[in-house]
Structures are given as structure tokens and as C-alpha cells.
């Protein structure tokens, strides 16, 4: 190096110039190589593999696609379709057959059954989004208990901001389900867009079903990495997803990489984890309110934007998964507004500390939006819904999480 340094500036020997420039190039290349090597390249050790394909014929009057879905003990699929919003259709995915339907009649049930949580098949909880309500039914559809909006009114002295709002549960959105935990239910809600006024406000509550009162609230808007107070996203892309492991309540959002971990009892934000993925390049940021001032602009945003599904915990293997729907063009190859049939999605796999340890790609709408459910060691997935295929239950692929073998 010093030899070249001593033949320094001012030396016009062509051979020297070539050697000097070559050395500069080598040094530059080395620096870039070292910087790139030091990037956090994930070393994947896990992958998704195709398990069983199930084929369940749909009886007449039932549906291939459901707007509310749930899975009980990895074997019973429960679904509610908009066309029969008070009826839960039940399928056995192990024996690949339709079982029976539960029809619910209640003077308080005006809207679709949502947010199904099954304790046992004779103890099924579900929610109504608006007016907010929680129901407990048995396998015959008899309503055993109802928590109406009067019982759900927030009177907690500490949470003054929440006391004067109209509470609507976000559970009408398929993947924004509540979580049943012993005598409590964690529920995501939209407090009438109150967080847009700049007031720090919580978006998730823990409700005691025995005492019929709220325990605590979580997910204050000020915790978020993205600004949904001064800016906007389509309504559904601002709602929190819930996940639970042990005493931790884990909250994620459709357009935020970050995973937020709260103490499930106290409501305290314990930590937040941001990670990187080779496939998630850039998530759109919230926009000025007037950019989404009509339905078509909002819909177009929804079509094009990449976004996350909920975080799922798989107890048997102590891992988490999260589905990422990749961006797609507004207009598809047929010249129409894209319906997601050609969309790529990935299933991200995390260890217990939320380190990304695998990411598998699925193409051409194989992993449909709002069409997946967690199992103890994998996922039950359905394709992006196409109304042309109505004779077979859409939720037909079992995906397992397995070790990735490097050759």
C-alpha cells in the first residue's frame, strides 16, 4: 500500500495510473462487500410445506366461502356467510364432510355473527360488531347469555377518553377476531374514529365475562410506529389484530412491520419488535385524509397495497406465522380491477422471540385474503375466492411448518 502511496499525486506514468485506479476499485468493492455482508440477512431454517388437501362437497344451500371463519381443535371448521348471517355452518375437516348448522335466534342479533371463539361445542362465544354485543350459545343455538351494549359500556374511571364513545367491535372484519382467555375476552374495537381527533386512545379491551365489566385496555394509538392520527388508511387497514401466548397479548397491524407485545394483565407495552424480510420492500405510509375521500380511491388503495394478515401462534411447535400479501397492480391481465386471483403471498415464520426464520412464497392467489386459520403446527388455507367454484369448501389446503434443509 505504501509503495503506491509514495508514487502519489502528480505522477503521470500511465502504468501507475492504471494500478492506482485498480486499487481504488478493489478497496471500494471490498467496502461495499463488507457492508452488504454485515446486513441482517436472515438465515432461514424453516419453511412451509404442503400437507393434506381436503375436499369437502358443499351441500345445497351452503357456501364455499364464508365471511366469518373459525377452527376448533384443528378439526371442526365453523363458518358464517353474509347471506345467512345468523347461521353457523360446521364442517369436519378430518372426515371431510359437512356436519350440521346452528341457527341462532336472539332479539339482540341484528347483524352477522362474527368473532367466533369456541370453548367447547356447547359453549360457543361470538360477537356482533354494531351495536356491540357478545353472545354465548350451545350447539343447538340456544342463547345461554348475552352481554348487550349496556353491559359493555365503558365506565372504567382511568380511561376517561373511552367513556363517551360509541363502541363498535372490529370483529366484523374476518381476521380481526377476539381472543377467549379463561374468563376474559380480548376484543379489538374501533372507537368511532376518535383517535383521529389526536386523543391518545386504546383500541383493544379485556372484558371479564363473569363480572360483566372491562378489566383493562391496550394498544394506545401513540404506541404505533405509523401515524394513523394525522393521516389515514382505509378503515380496515387501521384495525388491530390480536394474538396471545401465555400472559402476553401480541398486537399487530395490517400496514405495520412492527410486532407489539403487551402484558396481558396490566396492559403495559413490554416491547416492540421490528424485523426485516427479503420480500417486504416498502409498506405504504398513511396518506392525507383527502387522498381517500371517496369509495373508489379507497378501494383502489386496498387493491394495490401490500398488507399483513394477523400473527398466529402455533402452540405445538412454539412458533409464530404471519401472512404477507404482496403488492399487485390495480388492473389485472384481463383489463379489470384486480381481484387477487394472480396475487403472490408469503407465509413468514418466526421463532419464540419473533426472529424471522423462514418465509415461503405462494403464487396466483393460493393464499386468499381473509382465507386462512391457524392450526397447532400449521395453517388451513383457502384460495382467493372465486365465485365460480361453489361446490367444494374453499378452505382446502393444510400447510405444515417444517425444517428447511440446505443442500
Amino acid at each position: 500500500m505504501s509503495h503506491y502511496a509514495s508514487n502519489a499525486i502528480g505522477d503521470s506514468n500511465p502504468l501507475y495510473i492504471i494500478k492506482y485506479n485498480s486499487m481504488k476499485f478493489i478497496i471500494y468493492f471490498l467496502i461495499v462487500f463488507i457492508v452488504i455482508s454485515c446486513q441482517n440477512n436472515p438465515q432461514f431454517t424453516q419453511q412451509c410445506v404442503k400437507g393434506q388437501t381436503i375436499r369437502i362437497p358443499v351441500p345445497k344451500g351452503k357456501f364455499s366461502y364464508y365471511h366469518t371463519i373459525a377452527l376448533y381443535k384443528d378439526s371442526l371448521f365453523l363458518g358464517v356467510n353474509l347471506q345467512k348471517k345468523n347461521t353457523i355452518d360446521i364442517y369436519d375437516i378430518r372426515n371431510q364432510c359437512y356436519c350440521y348448522s346452528i341457527n341462532v335466534k336472539s332479539q339482540y342479533l341484528f347483524d352477522r355473527i362474527t368473532g367466533i371463539q369456541v370453548r367447547t361445542m356447547d359453549s360457543i362465544y361470538f360477537c356482533q360488531g354494531s351495536p356491540c354485543c357478545i353472545f354465548l350459545i350451545n350447539s343447538k343455538g340456544d342463547v345461554l347469555k348475552t352481554w348487550t351494549k349496556e353491559k359493555l359500556k365503558i365506565t372504567h374511571p382511568y380511561y376517561e377518553q373511552l367513556r363517551n364513545i360509541t363502541l363498535n367491535f372490529s370483529t366484523f372484519l374476518a381476521m380481526h377476531t377476539p381472543i377467549l382467555c379463561k374468563n376474559n375476552m380480548y376484543i379489538p374495537f374501533d372507537p368511532s374514529q376518535k383517535y383521529k381527533t389526536g386523543i391518545n386512545i386504546e383500541r383493544v379491551g379485556s372484558y371479564n365475562l363473569v363480572k360483566s365489566r372491562w378489566n383493562n385496555f391496550f394498544a394506545n394509538t401513540k404506541d404505533l410506529e405509523i401515524d394513523i392520527i394525522n393521516k389515514s388508511l382505509p378503515f380496515d387497514l387501521e384495525q388491530p389484530y390480536l394474538c396471545q401466548k401465555d400472559s402476553m397479548l401480541i398486537i399487530t397491524y395490517p400496514l405495520d412491520m412492527t410486532i407489539y407485545c403487551y402484558n396481558g394483565n396490566s396492559g403495559e407495552l413490554i416491547y416492540k419488535k421490528k424485523y426485516s424480510s427479503p420480500y417486504v420492500k416498502k409498506l405504504p405510509k398513511p396518506v392525507k385524509h383527502n387522498k381517500l375521500d371517496n369509495c373508489q380511491k379507497t378501494w383502489n388503495f386496498r387493491v394495490e397495497t401490500p398488507f399483513f394478515g394477523p400473527l398466529f401462534y402455533h402452540s405445538e411447535i412454539d412458533k409464530f406465522t404471519r401472512i404477507y400479501h404482496h403488492p399487485q397492480p390495480l388492473i389485472n391481465s384481463k383489463g379489470n380491477i384486480n381481484d387477487g386471483q394472480e396475487r403472490t403471498s408469503s407465509i413468514q415464520i418466526f421463532d419464540a422471540e419473533f426472529n424471522l426464520i423462514g418465509e415461503s412464497l405462494f403464487f396466483n392467489g393460493t393464499v386468499g385474503v381473509n382465507s386462512y386459520l391457524p392450526m397447532k403446527d400449521g395453517l388451513l388455507i383457502g384460495k382467493q375466492y372465486s365465485s365460480e367454484v361453489d361446490s367444494i369448501l374453499n378452505y382446502s389446503e393444510i400447510i405444515k411448518i417444517d425444517t428447511l434443509i440446505h443442500y
Binding site: 348471517k85 341484528f110 369509495c295 373508489q296 378501494w299 379489470n336 380491477i337
Partner: protein
């Protein structure tokens, strides 16, 4: 020349604005492609409802369409998008008795950029769009008055 300028100005003033025009053009394309209805030859109203959309929108639309004078009903087509729920089926059957209806069970309207989510109210005069409006919660009484005024004329 002055008359032409004034008339052109009045037509521009009372026809759809640019954004509405863009959505109306997509709506025209949708009606022709999916329903074989050429709106260039149309004169009257079209009211589009999403039967799988918000419950409040369905009930308010039903109430509005029931209240319109009969002479206006004959000039109005009702476009029904999606499949109605069990609960709403009797309301929809009743509407079908009163109106000339068009059905889009497969919800193909969403393949086009028509700004359809809330109900849409369209008025066409001699093939020209005079009004293309999404009907949100505050608009129902205004649309009802509009129809009543048209009836009185």
C-alpha cells in the same frame, strides 16, 4: 355564437364533474359489457344497490324507492348487486314488483372503477349523464325531493 357558448356553458355546468364523468364512463362500459345496455340510448334514472353491503343502506334505499311516485318508478331501473340475505329477501321481492330491475349476482361491477360501494343514483337525459351521485346517509331526503320535483313537473 353567443347562444352556443351560453348553452355549452350550461350543459357543462349541469353535467357531471370530471371525477363523476370518469366513474360514469366506467359505469357505461360496465352496463354495456355485462348487461348489454347501451346508455347512449337511455333516458331516465338508474339506482344501484349493493345487497351485500351495509344493512342501513339497503333499508334506507328500500324506503326511498318505495316512496317515489309511480310515474317516476316507470322511468327508473334498479340495479341489484350481489345476492340478498334471507332477512332482506321479501323487501327485494317487493321492489322487483314495482321496478324494472337488473341483477348482478356475481358483483361484476367491482371490476370497474364506478365508485360503487354506497348506492349510486344516476340521471341520464337523452344519453347524457346529468347526475352521477353516491348516496350516503345525508342524501336520501335530497334524492326523494328530487324525484318529487320531477313528478310535479
Amino acid at each position: 355564437m353567443k347562444k352556443i357558448v351560453i348553452i355549452s356553458f350550461l350543459i357543462m355546468l349541469f353535467s357531471c364533474n370530471t371525477e363523476e364523468k370518469k366513474y360514469y364512463n366506467e359505469f357505461k362500459k360496465y352496463m354495456k359489457t355485462i348487461h348489454q345496455i347501451d346508455l347512449k340510448n337511455y333516458d331516465g334514472y338508474i339506482y344501484a344497490i349493493h345487497l351485500q353491503g351495509c344493512t342501513d343502506c339497503i333499508y334506507r334505499s328500500y324506503k326511498l324507492l318505495n316512496s317515489i311516485p309511480s310515474s317516476c318508478k316507470s322511468l327508473c331501473k334498479v340495479l341489484m348487486v350481489g345476492k340478498c340475505t334471507e332477512v332482506d329477501s321479501s323487501l327485494i321481492r317487493n321492489l322487483k314488483k314495482q321496478y324494472n330491475t337488473i341483477e348482478d349476482n356475481m358483483q361484476q361491477i367491482f371490476r370497474y372503477q364506478t365508485n360503487f360501494a354506497y348506492p349510486i343514483f344516476v340521471k341520464i337525459e337523452n344519453g347524457k349523464c346529468v347526475r352521477y351521485q353516491e348516496v350516503t346517509f345525508d342524501d336520501y331526503s335530497e334524492i326523494e325531493k328530487y324525484f318529487n320535483n320531477a313528478y310535479e313537473k
